[in-house]
Structure formats: structure tokens, C-alpha cells
């Protein structure tokens, strides 16, 4: 049997017609690079891509589309103010004497959607659709262009668990009709659930091709990382003390003056990890920004110990003892073009020993960096190298090290392990648990349910700006949380 699509040399990867082939690997393992070669976005030095056994030249997405290869990127490439139909036919419009035939487009797209079980209103504006629906539009776009090989890059990253389930159904329907689906992911659970075969990549190489029936999550994790991995964090019971961070009936608006956080109340006590579960965009970011003084709340109070920090500046909040690991490392956590040492003192740059008056004390900055780099095992050649030259995992370790080294009373950790290799995830999780045991209050926000489940002593679920439930002990259960995240009543 021919492989439907095959990328050759060094990396040997074959997907067959009618199968879901998971491409599994850590960040930076080369999954996306490999698929960019297939989609013509990256050129390979040598090797070839074979389609139906014949070598093909793919020097750009246009070639890929012509050959029936479609890609759904992690970040959607849609134009929000346009309708579903307009987005789908974009670049392939049917026109009558130069005038776009929108009715025809709407009919075609509707028909295509029905045929593949991808129900979506072809006349709706993309801006009004949920993320799950927008993803369907992306898939429709690929199908409309005649894709028979569909590459999905981390497709579940932005979905609720129920939405992910529906995506799996769609994927199976596509393969049942003969298409080949390449499913890029780093999540072990979903590989086991959706894939017919699995190719594991590590450091740019394929290390194994297997099937869910012949493997196990632990085995796949070992293949991904190259050594056995603890999938569960080892932690004892928490011994919480007094509430350190109190959020009282907090209401926060977004930039468009819509309520983003709706009367949220929550205590985080010393020595416990409180996890906030929720699909991204349900108010978590706004809540955190309000705590940090980056956004002014409309109502309610935030107390740190007995001090009211509701309207304090970010600087004062940080000095008062709040540490922050931001969700988006690139935009908020680090300044990539500054060196590692400077990134380790981003909020302390003007205080002794790092400055005397307005004069920076670069010797002290470097010494501090050397110590922290050792203590947190950051893989950097020199404290003076640009932060951008570190791997994603090590960049994140710089953020974690900076925040933990200053010994905050409360640590607000948002997506602390996003885009980080499994080895670093393990390290960061251990650090969080250790600090909890030493009495730090930790507020953890994560859209990875597994992370919430394995770290949290209590779990709060946010849905549409409201705290819909706070669960403790054996109430903390993945199915229940998944339903709450999707808006089911508590």
C-alpha cells in the first residue's frame, strides 16, 4: 500500500489515506517545521515529499493546495468581520463579470458543511462565532480548496473538552470518507483518543511510529522526552494557613467596557494552590490583570493580607509581595532582546543592589544572574546572552526563577508551563509544589485541565466571567470540571 503522503530523509513520516495520524512531540521537536515543509512554508535542505508514491515539488502553500494538502494553523487565519462563506471562498471566489456571487458561495459552503458534518451557519459573521466554530470554518476552508490531506496544528489548544470531543468526531468522519488527517499535538490523552497511528518526534528526528493499541501514555511520554517521566506531580496534602489574597465581589470590564469578570470572590490561603480552570477568554486574564494593577476593577476589593491593593499601581502590588508568571511569556513575561541577566531583574532594576541612584550596578546584576541561573538550572551559556537565544523552556525558567527568587507572598501563575518542554514542566511543577509547602499562596490559572487537576488543592471554575464553582477534595474530578467549563450548571 502506498502512503498517501510521505516526507523523506532523516525524518521519515508516512500518513495513509483514511487514517488519523498523530504527530506527537514536545515544543521545538520539529513537528511544525516538518509540516511547514509539507505545506511549502519551509524549504528542506534535502529529502523529498511523496504523494501517492510520486515525488512532488512544494515550494509554497499554493503548490500544497493544488496538490490537495490543507493546513489549519494553531492561530486561525480568518477575517473576523466577513461571513463564514466569504472567509471560506476567499481567494477562490466565484464571480460573474467581476462581481462576487455571494449567494452561490453561501450555497456551496453550506452544502460542503453538510456533507462533512461540520454544521455552521454560512451566513454568520466569523467574529460572532465561538472558537470551536471558527476552527470548523478553517477546516471548511481547507476542504473547499480540495484538501485530501489535512494538517491540524495543535487543534485542541483553544477548545473546551466537549468541543474537542466534537472535533474528534469530525476528524473521524473525514477519514471515513478517505481523507488523511495529520494531527499535531503534545497532549498524550488526545493522541490515545483520536489517532490510528502515532509518530513521535524528538529534537528534529522521528523516534518511533506506533499505534495507540501498541503503546501507553507513559511509553509515549518516555519517547517524547527520551527518559521516563513522572506524569503525575508528587505532592502531599496541603496545610493551608490564613488567607493571603482575598478577592471580594470583584467586577472588571474589558477594553470595550463589557463585563469580563462578574462579582468574583475567592480566597487564596498561605500554603495552598488554588487552580482556576476555564477555557481561555472566560475572564481569567482580566481577573489577573486586576490583581496586578494592570487593569482597574469597576467594583469590589482585592486584599493582600490586610492591605487593600485594589487600586495600587503594578509597581506597588509587586513590591507588596505579589509574584506573577504571565500567560503570554513573549508579550508579557520577558523582553526577548534584552539579555538573560536583565530579564532576571525586570522589576528590581532600579533598586539596590542593582542600582545606586540612577546608576545601574551591572556587576551586581551579573552576579545575581549567575546565582539564579545555577539555582534554577537555566541552560544558558552566559548571563549576557540575549534571552531570545534560549529555548522556550529555559525562557520560561527565567520567568519562574525571577518570580520565585523574590520570595513573593502570593504567586499568580498563569499558564506557567505553556510552550514548555516536558522536562521543564516537571521542574516548574515541582517548584510550585515546593513553594506551596514552604507557605506560599499560589493562584494557578491554566487551560490545561491536567495541570489544574494535578497541582491544585482547590479548583475554581470560571465561565463567562463568573466563578461558577469552587471544588475541594474528591469534588475535584475531571468530568465534572469539564462540564462546568463548558457552562453546565454546578
Amino acid at each position: 500500500m502506498y502512503g498517501a503522503l510521505r516526507a523523506n530523509d532523516g525524518v521519515d513520516f508516512t500518513v495513509r489515506w483514511g487514517e488519523v495520524h498523530a504527530l506527537l512531540g514536545e515544543n521545538g521537536a520539529g513537528k511544525t517545521t516538518l509540516m511547514n515543509v509539507v505545506y511549502g512554508l519551509t524549504k528542506s535542505d534535502h529529502g523529498e515529499v511523496l504523494l501517492d508514491g510520486r515525488p512532488v515539488q512544494i515550494s509554497g502553500p499554493i503548490d500544497a493546495i493544488r496538490l490537495g494538502i490543507g493546513m489549519v494553523h494553531q492561530h486561525f487565519m480568518l477575517i473576523p468581520p466577513l461571513t463564514v462563506a466569504e472567509n471560506v471562498v476567499l481567494g477562490h471566489e466565484t464571480a460573474r463579470r467581476g462581481v462576487m456571487d455571494l449567494d452561490q458561495a453561501r450555497r456551496d459552503v453550506g452544502e460542503l458543511a453538510r456533507r462533512h458534518g461540520l454544521e455552521v451557519d454560512a451566513g454568520a459573521r466569523v467574529a460572532d462565532l465561538s472558537v470551536g466554530m471558527q476552527q470548523r470554518v478553517e477546516i471548511l476552508k481547507a476542504l473547499y480548496r480540495g484538501a485530501r490531506v489535512l494538517v491540524l496544528d495543535e487543534p485542541t489548544a483553544v477548545l473546551t473538552p466537549p468541543e474537542a470531543e466534537r472535533l474528534f468526531e469530525v476528524v473521524h468522519q473525514l477519514t471515513a470518507s478517505g481523507a488523511a488527517v495529520i494531527f499535531i499535538t503534545h497532549k498524550l490523552g488526545e493522541v490515545m483518543a483520536v489517532a490510528d497511528r502515532i509518530t513521535v518526534m524528538r529534537r528534529g528526528k522521528v523516534v518511533a511510529t506506533t499505534a495507540p493499541t501498541d503503546s501507553s501514555p507513559a511509553e509515549l511520554a518516555r519517547l517524547m522526552v527520551g527518559r521516563p517521566v513522572l506524569l503525575r506531580v508528587e505532592k502531599g496534602t496541603a496545610h493551608p494557613g490564613d488567607a493571603v489574597l482575598r478577592i471580594e465581589a470583584l467586577t472588571v470590564d474589558d477594553d470595550r467596557h463589557q463585563v469580563a469578570v462578574d462579582h468574583v470572590s475567592l480566597d487564596v490561603r498561605a500554603g495552598e494552590i488554588v487552580g482556576i480552570a476555564g477555557v481561555e477568554g472566560n475572564g481569567q486574564d482580566h481577573l489577573i490583570e486586576a490583581i496586578l494593577g494592570l487593569r482597574h476593577p469597576r467594583q469590589g476589593r482585592i486584599l493582600l493580607g490586610s492591605a487593600d491593593i485594589t487600586h495600587d499601581s503594578t509597581r506597588r502590588v509587586l513590591i507588596a509581595g505579589v509574584g506573577h508568571i504571565p500567560a503570554d511569556r513573549h508579550s508579557m513575561g520577558v523582553i526577548a532582546d534584552l539579555n538573560v541577566a536583565d530579564n532576571l531583574i525586570l522589576s528590581d532594576y532600579d533598586r539596590p543592589p542593582f542600582a545606586r541612584g540612577i546608576l545601574r550596578q551591572l556587576t551586581a546584576v551579573l552576579q545575581h544572574a549567575k546565582r539564579v541561573i545555577r539555582a534554577f538550572d537555566i541552560r544558558a551559556e552566559s548571563p549576557e546572552q540575549p534571552l531570545a537565544s534560549l529555548s522556550g523552556g529555559n525562557q520560561q525558567k527565567v520567568v519562574v526563577a525571577r518570580e520565585l527568587d523574590s520570595d513573593p507572598r502570593v504567586l499568580v501563575a498563569s499558564q506557567p508551563t505553556r510552550g514548555v518542554d516536558v522536562g521543564s514542566i516537571e521542574f516548574i511543577h515541582q517548584q510550585l509544589v515546593r513553594r506551596r509547602d514552604e507557605g506560599m499562596a499560589v493562584l494557578l490559572v491554566s487551560s490545561e485541565l491536567d495541570e489544574i487537576l494535578s497541582l491544585s488543592d482547590r479548583v475554581a471554575v470560571m465561565y463567562r466571567g463568573r466563578m461558577v464553582a469552587v471544588l475541594e477534595g474528591d469534588q475535584i474530578e475531571s468530568e465534572r470540571i469539564g462540564l462546568l467549563m463548558a457552562g453546565a450548571a454546578a
Binding site: D9, G10, V11, G25, N27, G28, A29, G30, K31, T32, T33, L34, N36, V37, T42, K43, S44, D45, H46, G47, Q74, R203, G204, K205, V206, L292, L294, S313, T314, R315, V317, L318, I319, H324, P326, H330, S331, M332, G333, V334, I335, A336, D337, L338, D342, L346, S347, Y349, D350, A355, I358, L359, R360, L362, A388, S389, S391, G392, G419
Partner: protein, 370 residues
């Protein structure tokens, strides 16, 4: 310095160098189209800028304001701000300095000159801080507000010297009284117009470098310029930093105005240093906002400016050629890909290529991808 550093340095030097060459080439094309010989034109330009003692000192005189103004634009760039208001800030600097220069009598030169220069810096600082405050408070874009304030400054100057409170009552043409001798910048090469401003310019470069690279203010400026969101998240006041940097930028432009009044013209007229601040944007771009690189960059623009009239006299090629060359240089500096393509330079990778196995990784993977 190891090999990689050297390569990086030569990469940083080659690009501006080639941009200048391409700019001159573009100018040559314009000369040919105008029916003249580009070699003659550039020969005369060179002669007019360098070959006599007078030509060379005039080139240095023209270089001086470009240094201050180039630094002014560059420090704005470092904070991610585009200060196009150099002209207005320069005029305010000229107004403040001129007022001190002609009206405060009885001071020894050693006091009068610094006071007049500081007054010029203050004028520029205030004029620069206004768009900074507007940006910080209301988000008004500095490109718009600084351009608008240029007109306001020009109008203000016109009002002041054209039969206004600063006009010389004994003269029909609009200008202030002459600067007092005690406020005039001393000439450093006898028989030329080359004044003390040259030393001030040479001093300003390391001072600005030190400010940006070695002080907490400079750290704030760079942090905000490189990633304002992260700077804000780590407690840096982005708004306050913008006001500071616009003020500093304005003070440098104001210093340029002060130096021109006290060192070159000796009176303040409405046409003070016209057009210089816009050239300075090119000076800063060509220098990649590096304070030390401002010196050669300003020198080049000074030479073009000072050689131009001799060229026009000798070859009848219009001084407008200089504008063509400057514009083309900016285009090439702003389009490094184009320059690399023409000279087949390799791009210096910003991050090490991470995936090398298996013949993949011809280009580095996108940040955070995979």
C-alpha cells in the same frame, strides 16, 4: 571579541555602508536623467565638502546640529517613539537660548554660555514633553502631535521676532537683537566658523550612550521600546517613561537650536536651521539609533549639505540632488532585504537554528511554534 561577534559587527556596518552606496547610485541616475555627468557632480560635491580648509570646517559646522538632532531622534527610537517634532523643539531651544543670549547682560562668558545652552535644552524639553504627556494621558500618537507642534513652534517664533516681544526694534527684517558676545560660542579654528559646538557634540554622544546603557532611566527607555507590555507588567510606568524620553529627545533638539543661534547665526530668525530636523531622522535611521554611529552618519549628511552649493555652482546640478540621495539612503536603510538581495549578503540569524537533524531547519522555526 570572537568570530561571531565580528561577523555580527561587520553585518551591522555593511548594511548602512551599502545603503549609502546605493543612495549615491540612485542620485547618479537622477543626475544622468537631468542630462549631467554624475562623476562631475559627485567630484564637485566632494571638493566642496573636503578639499580646502574652509570646506572642511564648513562640513564640520554643518555636522554639529545633525549630531544633536540625530541623538534626539535616536533616543526616541530606543523607546519605540517616533519624534518628528525635532524642528519645533529646536525652535523652542533657539527661542529660549536667544532670549538668555541677548537679554541677560553682565554675565561672564563662562556662565552666560552654559546658562543660555541650558535654557535652550529646557525649551526643547518642555516642547518635547507636551506630546509625551498627550501620548501618556490620552494615547494621542506622537507622530501627529509632534508634527502639529512644529507648526505651532514656527508660528510662535514668527510672532516673537516679527515685531513681537523678541524683535529687534532697530531692524525692519524679523529677527532678535544680536547675541551678546558673552553668550556667543567661541570659534575654535581661527578664520573659520567652526565653534565650540563641535566639542559639545562630541561630548553629547558618550553622555547619551551612558544614559541609555548604564542608567535606570535608560533601562526603562529600552525596556519600554523593546516590549512595552512586559515593561508595564514588571511595574515600569510606560506613560512616565514616554514623557521622560520625549523630554530628553526635545532637550537634545533644543540644544541643537541653541548651538545654532549662539554659535552660527548670532541672531534668531524665523528661518533658523530649517529642514535640519527632518534630515536628522535619516541620520538616526542610518546610524541604527546607536549613539556612536550617529557621528559618522551626521558627518556624512553634514558633508552632503556643505558640498552641495559648490557642486551647484560648478556643475549646475541642483542642490536638490542631496535630497534625492538622502531619500534613497532612507529607502535602502528601511529595506534591508533589498540591500541584502542586491549585494547578496546573508541575513544574520536572530536566533540560533534549533532543528538541524534530518535535513530540516533551513529556516528557524517560528517562536513558540511546534
Amino acid at each position: 571579541m570572537n568570530g561571531a561577534d565580528l561577523r555580527a559587527l561587520s553585518g551591522r556596518l555593511l548594511l548602512p555602508l551599502f545603503s549609502v552606496l546605493l543612495g549615491l547610485a540612485a542620485g547618479a541616475v537622477a543626475v544622468v536623467l537631468a542630462g549631467a555627468n554624475p562623476l562631475d557632480a559627485y567630484g564637485a560635491l566632494f571638493q566642496g565638502a573636503f578639499t580646502t580648509r574652509n570646506a572642511f570646517t564648513e562640513t564640520l559646522v554643518a555636522t554639529i546640529p545633525y549630531v544633536f538632532l540625530g541623538l534626539s531622534v535616536a533616543i526616541g527610537f530606543r523607546a519605540g517613539l517616533f519624534n518628528i517634532g525635532g524642528q519645533g523643539q529646536l525652535l523652542l531651544g533657539g527661542i529660549f537660548a536667544a532670549f538668555v543670549g541677548y537679554s541677560v547682560a553682565g554675565l561672564p562668558a563662562i556662565v552666560h554660555v552654559p546658562v543660555a545652552l541650558l535654557a535652550g535644552m529646557l525649551g526643547g524639553f518642555l516642547w518635547g514633553a507636551i506630546p509625551g504627556i498627550l501620548k501618556a494621558r490620552t494615547g494621542a500618537h506622537e507622530v501627529i502631535t509632534t508634527i502639529m507642534l512644529n507648526y505651532v513652534a514656527a508660528g510662535l517664533l514668527d510672532f516673537l521676532v516679527n515685531r513681537g516681544p523678541m524683535a529687534d526694534p532697530h531692524r525692519a527684517i524679523p529677527q532678535t537683537p544680536a547675541m551678546l558676545p558673552s553668550a556667543t560660542l567661541p570659534i575654535i579654528v581661527p578664520g573659520s566658523r567652526l565653534h565650540l559646538g563641535l566639542f559639545l557634540a562630541l561630548l553629547a554622544v558618550p553622555v547619551v550612550w551612558f544614559l541609555v546603557e548604564r542608567t535606570t532611566i535608560g533601562f526603562r527607555i529600552r525596556a519600554v521600546g523593546l516590549n512595552a507590555t512586559a515593561a508595564r507588567a514588571s511595574g515600569i510606568s510606560v506613560a512616565w517613561t514616554m514623557v521622560t524620553v520625549m523630554g530628553i529627545s526635545g532637550a537634545l533638539a533644543g540644544l541643537a537650536g541653541a548651538v545654532e543661534v549662539l554659535g552660527v547665526s548670532g541672531v534668531l530668525t524665523p528661518s533658523l536651521a530649517s529642514g535640519l530636523a527632518f534630515d536628522a531622522i535619516a541620520v538616526a535611521l542610518l546610524a541604527g539609533s546607536n549613539p556612536f554611529a550617529i557621528l559618522p552618519s551626521a558627518f556624512l549628511f553634514g558633508a552632503l549639505r556643505s558640498g552641495a552649493s559648490f557642486m551647484q555652482l560648478q556643475t549646475q546640478v541642483s542642490t536638490d540632488l542631496i535630497s534625492v540621495v538622502q531619500a534613497a539612503v532612507i529607502v535602502f536603510v528601511a529595506a534591508p532585504m533589498l540591500v541584502r538581495l542586491i549585494f547578496r549578503l546573508r541575513a544574520t540569524p536572530s536566533a540560533p537554528v534549533r532543528i538541524t537533524a534530518g535535513g530540516l531547519g533551513a529556516t528557524p522555526p517560528e517562536e513558540g511554534a511546534a
